[in-house]
């Protein structure tokens, strides 16, 4: 195994230790970080970076980022949350972001899936179809 692969394997083990019932647990992450600090492995920086990647990906998978232009009613957020949770079969956190570039409407991002119902994307689709 190459060194890079070994580091990745190790980071993945650390990541698995950070899960509780299949979900990322802040306490466990804390524990992993403390253990790393006490017994630093040979390539601490690279290991931490690889570990961060796994954690980031997991966070992205369990977060619905809702971008919106203008006001966003709490019922809508709740509605999106429950629909997305149904679709992905897991609990999701929601993060709201105000993004005036959308002009009007919404964009929801869960991991690498983008659900776009904004005027901005409608206009750019229209633009490319007219080209």
């Amino acid at each position: 195994m190459t060194q890079a692969k070994q580091i990745k394997e190790f980071a993945k083990q650390l990541f698995r230790m950070s899960l509780e019932d299949g979900e990322l647990s802040p306490e466990r992450v804390d524990g992993v970080l403390k253990a790393l600090e006490k017994n630093p492995p040979r390539h601490l920086l690279a290991t931490l970076k690889a570990y961060l990647k796994f954690v980031e990906r997991e966070v992205a998978k369990s977060t619905a980022v809702i971008s919106h232009a203008g006001q966003l009613a709490p019922e809508i957020v709740a509605n999106i949350k429950s629909q997305m949770e149904g679709k992905y079969g897991r609990k999701l956190d929601t993060v709201e972001r105000d993004d005036p570039d959308l002009i009007a409407g919404l964009r929801v991002v869960v991991d690498c899936d983008v659900y776009d119902a904004s005027i901005q994307s409608a206009l750019s689709t229209l633009e490319s179809s007219l080209n």
Binding site: D111, C112, D113, V114, D116, A122
Partner: protein, 510 residues
């Protein structure tokens, strides 16, 4: 006018109500035309993905936590962190008769400056080859117009015949001659109004060649009036490795369209050695493990899945065919190198061109001993079988005996006769580049040979004599040539007519 406005309004309304779902990712690293992508969790193997600036890539490496994408075309504007989108579509290219007479790149886009391509249909670049049940055995000839090939190594529609030889031994010329011959046959056949006539359309795929070479080939096709029946797919040496990798599949898709629509097509891959090299380069950048001669382990599959797509399909599937002439370049005639052995094992025979013959002026430099067609005489018309049945054997014996020719007068009469016959056949088969000979003329000349009309002509004058005989037939005996073509066999009547005609020529030639 108002309907146009309604249309746009409708489209706006549609868009407003629609939520567009896309699967996306981000570029982790990019270099040498290959991008590693984080995300794209839904991407399929060989799916088209979209980068910013309408740049297209194909997903080739699907790994646990990243996707390796080959960027098609210019990649210099792409950078780390850029968004990549799945398209849900496999790479497709335009197909159809509108491409005939055109030159396109590996993505089927015109590069000949003749404007947009008239095509409403697209076809996936990678497709599963026809199965056993849909196929039919190869039994219709595909005439190359090259005497030595049509008489000794006949090619049938749907066959895959490899053209193999060292640099500069005339490989491309054989393929181009065959394309020109198809155009010549098409013109005669279409003009005859025969409802059963089946034209052959050609696709010439140029991989990793110099632009000047492609331009020369194009010039010849145009000059010989063959371009209008031909599609040229070009991924020159200056193109990215990804485009060179892709071009043969693009050509195959265009050819397959003809086959699956009940037509006959011929495809030339010039050449698969450069194709394999482009694939090796791509694989090294994708960090795939490499094996023999640094090629990745699946290089066999690279060519087998390409050549499997050539076939003859049966009547229930439209009776179309796609004949393939892949070209491989060898080093010092070594057929046992990795890529040559692979491709030899996939094809239905090979035409082996020898540097020695080429340098001795025996051109086309076809090696009789090492060339075979596994379809054989099933793909010959009866007339050719009648006049050429024994020629391959005679020539092979001649090659064995040639070493003893120096003993001259000491030889027994039979050996001397074999040597005389052999040396005349060698001369007869000499043929200049880009001058395919119609099968009826070939039959007439070989008939004269078989019936000893050349025996008393000096070996050094055989080329002249056969040219003169063909000239005599095409200018004075056109009707006879047409009968040979239409009957496709020599019956007693034709034999008598041939005898009268050749006798007449013989008196004028001496």
């Amino acid at each position: 006018m108002s309907s146009v406005i309604e249309q746009i309004e409708q489209q706006i309304a549609n868009l407003q109500n629609k939520t567009v779902a896309t699967n996306t990712g981000k570029i982790l690293t990019i270099g040498d035309g290959v991008a590693k992508i984080d995300g794209l969790s839904q991407v399929m193997y060989n799916e088209m993905v979209e980068f910013p600036g309408e740049t297209i890539g194909i997903a080739l490496n699907l790994e646990e936590d990243e996707v390796g994408v080959v960027v098609l075309g210019e990649a210099s504007h792409l950078k780390e962190g850029d968004e990549v989108k799945c398209t849900g579509r496999l790479l497709s290219v335009p197909v159809g008769k509108g491409l005939l007479g055109r030159v396109v790149d590996a993505l089927g886009r015109p590069v000949d400056g003749k404007g947009a391509i008239d095509s409403s249909e697209t076809y996936p670049v990678e497709k599963i080859a026809p199965g056993i049940i849909e196929r039919k055995s190869v039994d219709q000839p595909l005439m190359t117009g090259i005497q030595s090939i049509d008489s000794m190594i006949p090619i049938g529609r749907g066959q895959r015949e490899l053209i193999i030889g060292d640099r500069g031994t005339g490989k491309t010329t054989i393929a181009i001659d065959t394309i020109i011959n198809q155009a010549n046959i098409n013109k005669v056949g279409l003009a005859s109004g025969d409802p059963d006539f089946r034209p052959v359309y050609s696709i010439y795929v140029a991989v990793g060649q110099k632009n000047s070479n492609v331009a020369r080939t194009l010039g010849i096709l145009e000059e010989k009036g063959a371009l209008e029946y031909t599609i040229v797919v070009s991924a020159p040496a200056a193109d990215s490795a990804a485009n060179q990798y892709l071009a043969p599949y693009t050509g195959a898709a265009m050819g397959e369209w003809f086959m699956s629509n009940g037509m006959d097509a011929l495809i030339v891959y010039d050449d698969l050695s450069k194709h394999a090299a482009a694939y090796r380069q791509m694989s090294l950048v994708l960090k795939r493990p490499s094996g023999r001669e640094a090629y990745p382990g699946d290089v066999f599959y690279l060519h087998s899945r390409l050549l499997e797509r050539s076939a003859r399909v049966n009547e229930n599937n439209g009776n179309g065919s796609l004949t393939a002439l892949p070209i491989i370049e060898t080093l010092a005639g070594d057929l046992s190198a990795y890529i040559p052995t692979n491709v030899i094992s996939i094809t239905d025979g090979q035409i082996f061109l020898e540097t020695d013959l080429f340098n001795q002026g025996i051109r086309p430099a076809v090696s009789v001993g090492l060339s075979v067609s596994r379809v054989g005489s099933a793909a010959q018309i009866k007339a050719t079988k009648q006049v050429a049945g024994k020629i391959k054997l005679e020539l092979a014996q001649f090659r064995e005996l040639a070493a003893f020719a120096q003993f001259g007068s000491d030889l027994d009469a039979k050996t001397k006769a074999q040597l005389d016959r052999g040396s005349r056949i060698v001369e007869l088969f000499k043929q200049p580049a880009f001058n395919p000979i119609p099968i009826e003329q070939q039959v007439a000349v070989l008939w004269a040979m078989q019936n000893n009309y050349f025996d008393d002509i000096d070996v050094s004058k055989i080329v002249e004599a056969s040219n003169s005989l063909r000239e005599f037939f095409s200018s004075r005996k056109e009707g006879l040539l047409t009968s040979i073509r239409e009957k496709a066999k020599i019956d007693d009547d034709l034999a008598t007519e041939l005898k009268t005609a050749v006798d007449e020529w013989k008196t004028s030639f001496n």
